[in-house]
């Protein structure tokens, strides 16, 4: 509530008030409009200069990181370990889970997205689409209540983009997707349109997206 973010004397976000209750929320806006900074607040990667972010009443950073997953644009920067199973276990180790529960959760998430064959593969040898799916699996394995995606399909080809969109559709968690790709978010429940660090449009996709397209002309 009332969130502002200032960087080097410039307000990147100005007094943002937003309650996220819908299941699928899209965030659109031009480059530098503040949408990525907004997304990074959810997981505590970005700290507000003023105002608070809270999830189910808790605004503690540790709780935000525990319950909000974040999928970055470039999976190469998100994957920490050289073997897929090891990387999926990384977040679970931080949660102090037992070896057997860690293994069960990894098997479950790989099976869910038909990625079991990648379990013992080297992450640097995966295709771009596979890497992005592993990045998503690495977040899902921690069973977050909410997942934030920062331009997740930018580096994907059409086939992988469709596959990734299908995976997004299957998620039961609340998802917030920052994207320039309007196809990705056009059927979402709610769209937020950012401009100059403020929300200038908030509502169902059709009017907000057409307003955004008009603002570009």
């Amino acid at each position: 509530m009332n969130v502002s973010v200032e960087k080097s004397g410039v307000f990147v976000l100005k007094n943002i008030n937003a309650r996220i209750s819908e299941r699928r929320i899209g965030v659109i806006g031009r480059n530098g409009s503040g949408k990525s900074t907004f997304a990074r607040l959810f997981n505590g990667i970005e700290t507000p200069t003023s105002g608070t972010i809270s999830l189910n009443g808790s605004s503690e950073k540790k709780a935000l990181r525990r319950h909000v997953g974040f999928v970055f644009q470039n999976p190469d920067n998100q994957i920490v370990y050289p073997i897929v199973a090891e990387d999926l276990a990384f977040g679970l180790k931080n949660l102090m889970l037992s070896k057997s529960e860690t293994s069960d959760r990894i098997d479950e998430v790989l099976h869910r997205f038909d990625l079991t064959h990648l379990r013992n593969r080297f992450t640097h040898q995966l295709s771009g689409g596979e890497k992005q799916m592993i990045a998503l699996a690495g977040v899902l394995v921690m069973r977050p209540r909410m997942i934030v995606f920062d331009e997740p399909t930018t580096l994907l080809d059409l086939w992988n983009k469709r596959k990734f969109m299908a995976a997004l559709d299957e998620l039961e968690q609340c998802i917030v997707v920052v994207s320039h790709d309007l196809d990705l978010i056009v059927e979402f429940d709610r769209i937020l349109h950012f401009e100059d660090g403020t929300i200038v449009g908030d509502g169902s996709p059709a009017p907000i997206v057409s307003g955004y397209i008009e603002s570009l002309q």
Binding site: R65, F72, V80, Y81, K93, N94, L95, F122
Partner: protein, 197 residues
């Protein structure tokens, strides 16, 4: 060619606790420098070759580990011939080869996550103020990012070649360093976002 960081297997060496392998590596490396002479190199060499055989590793794994150091070894050999003699040059290079192969034997039979656990165990008795988890993760990230930095270098080299700047070292190094630092920033954010304290 990408470097294989780990070779899957179920040998005794694969199953040995990482901390034991790290301590053994430290002992072998130290002995090579403290116990001078061909006998110590020969014994260490036999141990390392036996380790490769025991772990089911092939000669190509050994060669792949030595290849990146090839030019440096040739340079050391040449300098040692110049300042000493061929026998001493062979001795120095043989010692480095055994060292590299011993280190490779540990990394090829230890998963990065096990390596992290091993370093953490090795640091168990370090003072409170030593950031054990951070040191362990930093070492593992070094291994993980060798292929990534290599691919960034290839991309930058190709881009500079397209601009006719393939022989310009500054044009190669500046983008490489900038991109590597930027990647490091993003990776630290990603690690943070995955509940690492």
């Amino acid at each position: 060619m990408m470097i294989d960081l780990y070779v899957f297997g179920d040998s005794l060496l694969h199953r040995t606790r990482p901390v034991v392998k790290i301590v053994a590596l430290v002992i072998v490396c130290t002995s090579l420098f403290t116990v001078e002479g061909w006998p110590s190199i020969s014994i260490a060499g036999i141990l390392v070759i036996s380790g490769f055989a025991l772990a089911g590793l092939k000669p190509r794994h050994a060669l792949a580990s030595l290849r990146p150091a090839g030019w440096i070894l040739i340079a050391i050999f040449a300098v040692q011939i110049f300042i000493a003699d061929i026998l001493f040059a062979s001795f120095v290079v043989a010692r480095f080869i055994v060292l590299i192969l011993a280190a490779a034997l540990v990394t090829l039979t230890t998963k990065t996550s096990e390596f992290v656990d091993g370093i953490r165990s090795a640091l168990m008795y370090a003072p409170e103020w030593v950031p054990k988890d951070q040191i362990a993760l930093a070492v593992s990230l070094c291994l993980r990012f060798i292929p990534l930095v290599r691919s960034v270098l290839d991309e930058v080299r190709q881009a500079q070649r397209a601009r006719g700047l393939e022989r310009n070292l500054t044009a190669l190094l500046v983008p490489l360093v900038v991109r590597t630092l930027k990647t490091a920033d993003q990776v630290s954010e990603a690690i943070y976002s995955r509940s690492f304290d």
